[in-house]
Amino acid sequence: HRRERGKKKRRRSKKVQRHRKAGAECRRHPMYVSFNEVGWTEWIVAPVGYQAFYCDGKCPFPISDYLNSTNHAIVQTLVNSVMPDRIPEVCCVPTELSSISMLYLDEQNKVVLKNYQGMVVKACGCR
């Protein structure tokens, strides 16, 4: 019975380790940009803020498929594993961005609705 308990404990600890390791991998993190905090809601009517997200984490070899790595990123990772002092690791960067619509007042107090591209991170990857 004790042996079985010990085995279960080891399995759990391995699972936790895996999760922690996965947490350090490149992924999307929340980053809320509040226009209210900087006093821009006087002229930005809507939204009062938006979730922009950011990318952070490591890109260890082998790079997972969901990280949208390029062939070059794989090669760079390989070379980095051989010569870590000379070649840096690949970067965790946004690979897919989406736009937001903003309703604001211009210099003549006219109401404008505009679509801005590349404002929200949709996916992160190793590039």
Partner: protein
């Protein structure tokens, strides 16, 4: 910063060479100055960083400075609806007229202003102007809509009031289907009057009348719509005014406004206060909020070549 640093380094070199005798000392002093100028370019404090960030963001927005608002600006309900439709990623064409437009990523709204010239004196007509000077030159105008509010309740109310006062005669020269005799009672009169089709014509003012002269307005018909007042729901009537707005954008001094003319579809003049059911001018009994949500509105669709277009998707075929 590299170009500025290089120029500053060259100037510092020349100045230092003139003052100091040894070349080594001059080079060392120049390098020090270069590093100093480079550091100056970077934001030093949190405020500097914030200002630099704000300047970048305003540049993205196409603004030079943070807009200084003098008064409380009213945001039209139509713009809210449009914003909500884009936010929820629904069909952006829903609250618009449904005509096929070229892609655009900017939508601007304009309230009308009173014309600076003498109004085209004409019965059942009104002249309104729009200041579109905030539209950027590099933006391509893809569409422009004039939205006019139609309120059937007001229409009915005015006819009811007019009939009860019995001081306004009904013109017998109307279409035979709608002929009303004085012997009819008021109820029948309302029923028949309610279904009068009204034609709204939007003209571009080419040449306004001059002050103190009896010259007439020279106008050009842009769009026309016929309203059948058999529905009880108030609605917005949308007119395509793209040619006029495009002309004003290219040549602002030719902006003399729009002339809106009302008539019956039978080419006879409207007899009883036609301005009351079409909201072109503010009446004394209308609240500020109600007027802001029912006054004429010019909507322009422009594209600056950046970003995802706010295009109107077409309805799928059955």
């Amino acid at each position: 910063s590299s170009s500025s640093s290089s120029t500053s380094s060259s100037s510092s070199v020349s100045s230092s060479s003139s003052t100091s005798s040894s070349s080594s000392s001059s080079s060392s002093s120049s390098s020090l100055k270069v590093t100093a100028t480079k550091k100056d370019n970077f934001p030093q404090t949190h405020d500097d960083l914030f200002k630099a960030f704000e300047a970048n963001l305003l540049q993205i927005f196409g603004l030079k400075n943070r807009p200084k608002l003098n008064e409380k600006t009213f945001v039209p309900q139509y713009m809210w609806d449009l914003y909500d439709s884009h936010k929820q990623k629904k069909d952006p064409s829903a609250p618009t007229s449904g005509r096929g437009y070229l892609p655009a990523n900017t939508v601007r709204s304009f309230y009308h202003i009173d014309p600076h010239f003498m109004d085209c004196t004409e019965e059942n007509a009104s002249t309104i102007m729009f200041n579109i000077s905030n539209m950027m030159e590099e933006e391509i105008l893809t569409a422009a809509d004039l939205r006019i509010f139609w309120d059937p309740k007001f229409y009915e109310y005015n006819y009811r009031g007019a009939a009860s006062s019995s001081d306004i005669s009904i013109d017998n020269s109307y279409d035979s289907n709608y002929n009303i005799t004085r012997d009819n009672n008021n109820k029948n009169m309302f029923k028949k009057l309610k279904y009068f089709p009204i034609r709204i014509e939007v003209h571009e003012v080419i040449s306004p009348p001059r002050w103190g002269s009896s010259s007439e307005c020279i106008t050009r018909l842009i769009d026309t719509k016929v309203i059948h007042s058999n529905s009880n729901t108030s609605t917005w009537v949308v007119f395509d005014v793209h040619p006029a707005v495009l002309k004003w954008k290219q040549t602002p001094h030719l902006n003399h406004g729009l002339h809106i003319r009302l008539s019956t579809a039978t080419k006879n003049p409207v007899s009883v206060q036609p301005h009351q059911h079409i909201r072109l001018k503010r009446t004394a009994d209308i609240e500020q909020n109600e007027w802001q949500n029912s006054r004429p509105l010019l909507i322009t669709y422009t594209d600056d070549g950046k970003g995802v277009p706010l295009k109107r998707s077409r309805r799928s075929a059955r």
